[in-house]
Amino acid sequence: MPTVVLMDVSLSMTRPVSLDGSEEFQRKNLAVHGLNMLFEHMASNYRLEFTALMAFSSLWELLVPFTRDYNALQEALSSLEDYDKTCIEAALNGVNNVVQQEWGSGCPCQVVLVTDGSLGIGKGSLRHSLQTLKHRGEDKKFPLPFPFPTKLYILCIANSEELQMTDAMDNLEHLLCLSGGDGQIFTMEGPLCMKSVQTMFGRLIDHAYSPFHAVLHCGNLSSDVQVFPRPEPMVVDEEVEPMPRAVSTDLEIVGFIEIADISSPPVISRHLVLPIAVNKDVDEVGAAATDELEDEPSATQMAGKSPNFCVLLHGSLKVEGMVALVQLGPEWYGMLYSQADSKKKSNLMMSLFEPGSEPLPWLGKITYLGPVSEAAENPYGEDDSKSPFPVQPPAKRSYAQNVTVWIKASGLQADVQKILRNARKLPDKTQTFYKELNRMRKAALAFGFLELLKGVADLLERECTLLPDSAHPDAAFQLSHAAQQLKLASTGDSQYADFDHNIAPMHTDFSS
């Protein structure tokens, strides 16, 4: 889930912070300090995240496009300049453009807005934007909600008392609500100083950027893993099940399925499953940063040499062309598979299915998937030539069952012509003739289209008179029999117009 950091560089950010120490800080310095801390954390614990840095005042500028190079981001922070007034609406439009250009409109994004709570004045201020929300044309719509799913984090270099003195807090809350309500507003606690800004960014990190650690189990085999990006909790139906479901930290493999059988299933998200060293159980943000430089090379080397279940699993999934079905929680499943990059690199990947007991119709209910060994005979065949999948639905769809639709005249004409074509080839085509005749009869009865039955009966009688001398004598018998039966059905008399009744070929001495 890419992140856009949106940094307020308006003049109000240069307001000095009263401190008892000798050094004088601006709010901007506090913000930069906090963001540096965030970037450092991401560099060491969340380094696969793509992050972009934008600065805004009345205009906006993309300082660093989406990157994993956290040094570049920190460098850009150190050379921020000061501009005029805050204009959040313009900046949000900028975010919209930047994100859609890079990731399209389906990719969920996190937006970290860092501001001081003075939200501009007059036209272009957030207050003005929100007030005019309802009186806008199609072309000047407020950018929120974004077309892509958004988590909006608003970090205020101000404490909540300050924000509540004006309507700033209300406006920010309104803004969060407009973006879809997913996100949070962070304010500073206590005096504005380095320490409290650290606490605030620490809360953001815990909330949104802590790595997701889990244990992948396959019976007694297991491996500690990091799942990246973090799997997000999921609300299935806000009315019936309003509580979001979260992915469990124990990922349990339940069995294996061939790629051809699972056949490109729809997934709600994809995640890398990265094995991690076992003894690294505490990820202290501050401590890790200093120690890591010396310790890490040897630690990773050691970890690289001891066998890990993920690597084994990945290798075999890749060679066999299979996926592992993995349980993520109650009635929630996903799959593990080997994903190859364009180059030689490949990786263990996990995709999450829609929560529920039957995410893929062609697998049936997941709880009713059992081990092959229990089946009386191997459903895959002795030589792997068969497969128990896909599971067939109880009823066929319309396109698979030769339904009758006469909405267009051509449909009706084609059906009638098909009967006539077969009628001319009697008695060779007796079976097909009656099959088509009965199909037409059933539809005509259901639609109450009795006139058609009479019409077709007339047509058959005419065909009878047109039979050439060389025709088989049976043909005439069958045609007049069929015509007579249709006439009877066209009276609507329940005795002859029963839907489930089929006109059977007439038994003649010729047909044997």
Binding site: C218, G255, P266, L312, D341, L369, G370, P371, E451, G455
Partner: protein, 724 residues
């Protein structure tokens, strides 16, 4: 879409009054004469459908699309809708003019076009000779409201499942009324009547368990009139009659106008969108060697085009919005559809596409030749990639058509940049440097642990659902499963395979036990003949462990494997007994020496693992350590071995295994290392008091935490095993 939106229940009320027997005045020529036969034959007069026939076939088409796209109460992805169609119709009898006919129920089994066709045939067309004064669509509408109060299977299941929050299950529904109304006032009268009936029914429902009050009802009134006549009823966009009831009126000519109106309605009501597949190459019947390109239109859930709608590449007005805005003058020949191009390089089914959604489709024109060609092609198991038509630039493949179990799905493929690009390769991470993983063996393991659908009716005596049994099997199969080749001997030996395959089974037959025993005897035989073993000597220098040491390692490992299963049944235990009886035991001293070395490794694991696992872990550790310590020459390539391999010379074969158990040392010179370690161990043991456990151990074993057992009863051991 919510699970229980108005789309959950749809009631069709089709007017069966005598007036509906009128002709629609749209004529169909069904006698198409071929040129050769045209002479002297009078063509049949064209037939025309009645208003009733038009209404019925269009409503059936509505249901057909619906059942294709939402066959169950749940569709793949996003929304779940249970579609229940009532064809309610009103039959007029002179004796009782209040009669109506309910054609099906909310039961899932009743929800199919075939059921409806059969019921409709039983009703038959309206009788034009009945007295029109005696019949009214009202009876049908009242029955429709009543039926909306009846609970569906899905509602029942959800209410039962939610228990105390059962009130979250809502009851909403839609009534589609196909009739010929007399005037706008008549329409208003019908609306009022429905409103009153809802209030009455809700009162009834409040006191009943079997009924649910209606929270929201949408009335869609379609006024049908013959071609060439003027309508007496005016169109009206959706308006709120009361908080419970909204109503809209459509006035349509019978025939194709009605058909396209219902087609638009079904799209609006069920969030459908249309896609036209263009450039489908299809063989011409007449000219088999040429192929013309055809287009086929499909309907499916709107979300398949979410990306288009959002990104603004394609902006059709939502059918619903359009209507609500009151601009219902939409022309029928104007159709909003997303065009996607057939893409020739076909995809194979062993490729796993990144697919963000899959939606069932229904062809708009189901039995046209292009449609059936496309659907048959797909039903035969082939998939087609679809690309967005672009004037220039690279091609973007955005969708895929594919069938699964006789159902065709439109898959949405991700065509954006991935946020997971350029990840670190797995070989760079933990365990990435290890090169001798048992990849092939694990592949075999995966094939044995493949899943298969189990009939819901089949009952297992253990009471576990199949997926739990699958997990239990995985647990059994992995009790002892070394991940790398150099960690194992037995799994590199063909001779052990029969036993290794059988021992993991939940239950063994007598025959299985016999096979296992044979395997063991076979191993004994090999040992007697002094066959080489595929012992790993990774990283070792010199000759590697002596052959008798190799066998000791092998037996230890085999014992470890079987021990993890010995508790399952008596037969499993018998296999273990057989091994213990047959193997040549190393002297006590040797064993103790080994234990001394591995103590540290064992201790941190002892807490986590049950006593049995502890043993195999420590076994692995000790072997690995050994491997590192006793450096030997690399000759680990011997994977295959068999009793047929040539017997080594100058080794005296033993006669009977059981009786001869010479002390280990007698069989060869002692290595310098073991001499040294023995000495150190002896010296060390003098410096400290021996552990209580070791002093009072039986067969070198001592049960830890015995006092826990006394405190908690017998469960302790079990728990220790279970908690991993």
């Amino acid at each position: 879409m919510k699970m229980f939106s108005v789309a959950h229940k749809t009631v069709f009320v089709v007017d069966h009054c005598p007036y509906m027997a009128e002709s629609s005045r749209q004529q169909v020529e069904c006698d198409v004469l071929t040129k050769s036969r045209a002479q002297g034959v009078i063509p049949l007069a064209p037939v025309s459908k009645s208003l009733w026939t038009c209404a019925v076939e269009c409503s059936m088409e509505y249901c057909r699309i619906l059942y294709d796209v939402y066959p169950k109460d749940k569709l793949v992805f996003i929304s779940r809708v249970e579609m229940k169609t009532f064809a309610l119709k009103q039959v007029n009898y002179i004796v009782s003019d209040s009669e109506f006919h309910i054609l099906n129920s909310w039961r899932r089994g009743d929800q199919s076009t075939h059921e409806l066709m059969s019921a409709l045939a039983a009703v038959g067309p309206p009788n034009p000779r009945e007295d029109p004064e005696c019949c009214s669509i009202l009876h049908g509408l009242v029955a429709a409201v009543e039926s909306l109060c009846k609970i569906t299977e899905l509602q029942h299941e959800k209410r039962t499942a939610l228990m105390d929050t059962a009130e979250r299950v809502a009851n909403r529904g839609r009534i589609i009324c196909l009739t010929n109304a007399k005037s706008d006032t008549h329409v208003r009268m019908l609306e009022d009547c429905i409103q009153e009936t809802i209030l009455d029914q809700n009162k009834l429902a409040a006191g009943s368990d079997r009924l649910m009050g209606i929270q929201q009802c949408e009335l869609v009134l379609v006024h049908i009139y013959p071609q060439g006549e003027d309508t007496l009823v005016s169109d009206r966009p959706k308006k709120e009659i009361s908080p419970l009831l909204t109503s809209e009126v459509h006035s349509v000519r019978a025939g194709r106008h009605l058909a396209s109106k219902l087609n638009i309605l079904v799209q609006q009501h069920f969030d459908l969108a249309s896609t036209t597949i263009t450039n489908i190459p299809m063989k011409e019947e007449q000219h088999a060697n040429t192929s013309a390109n055809y287009d086929v239109e499909l309907l499916h859930h709107r979300d398949a085009h979410l990306e288009f709608f959002k990104s603004g590449c394609f902006f059709p007005p939502l059918p619903g919005d359009l209507h609500m805005a009151g601009t219902s003058t939409r022309e029928n020949n104007f159709k909003e559809t997303v065009t996607l191009k057939w893409c020739t390089p076909r995809t194979n089914n062993i490729e796993l596409h990144y697919c963000t959604g899959a939606y069932r489709i229904s062809p708009t024109d189901v039995n046209s030749r292009p449609s059936s060609c496309l659907t048959n092609f797909l039903l035969n198991g082939r998939s087609v990639l679809l690309e967005q038509p672009r004037k220039s630039g690279s091609k973007v493949i955005s969708h895929m058509l594919s069938s699964h179990g006789g159902e065709i799905f439109l898959h949405v493929l991700n065509s954006n940049r991935s946020t997971l690009e350029d990840p670190p390769s797995i070989s760079e991470g933990c365990g990435g440097r290890v090169t001798d993983y048992r990849i092939t063996d694990f592949g075999e393991f995966m094939r044995e642990n493949r899943l298969t659908p189990v009939a819901e009716s089949s009952h297992d005596p253990s009471g576990k659902v199949p997926v739990e049994r699958a997990k239990a099997q995985l647990e059994r199969y992995t009790r002892y499963w070394p991940m790398i080749i150099s960690q194992t001997t037995i799994f590199n030996m063909q001779a052990v395979v029969p036993l290794a395959n059988l021992i993991v089974k939940e239950t063994l037959t007598e025959e299985d036990v016999l096979t296992c025993q044979k395997t063991v005897y076979n191993l004994v035989d090999m040992e007697r003949k002094n066959d080489p073993l595929p012992i790993s000597t990774v990283g070792s220098r010199g000759k590697g462990p002596k052959r008798d040491e190799q066998y000791r390692i092998m037996w230890n490992e085999l014992e470890t494997l079987v021990k993890t299963h010995a508790g399952a049944t008596d037969r499993h235990q018998r296999v273990l007994d057989c091994i213990i009886a047959c193997r040549s035991k190393p002297p006590e001293e040797e064993e103790r020496k080994k234990r001394g070395r591995k103590r540290e490794d064992r201790e941190d694991r002892a807490e986590k693992n049950g006593s049995k696992e502890m043993e195999d872990k420590s076994w692995q550790d000790s072997e690995r350590l050994k491997g590192l310590l006793e450096k030997g020459e690399q000759d680990a390539e011997v994977i295959k071995d068999s009793p047929d391999s040539p017997e080594p010379l100058n080794k005296k074969p033993r006669l009977m295994v059981d009786e001869v158990q010479p002390p280990e040392r007698a069989k060869g010179p002692v290595s310098l290392l073991s001499l040294w370690t023995n000495r150190i161990t002896a010296a060390n043991s003098r410096k400290h008091q021996e552990f209580v456990g070791r002093v009072s151990s039986v067969n070198n074993k001592f049960e830890l935490y015995q006092h826990l057992k006394e405190e908690n009863g017998m469960d302790v051991h079990e728990n220790g095993k279970a908690s991993r």
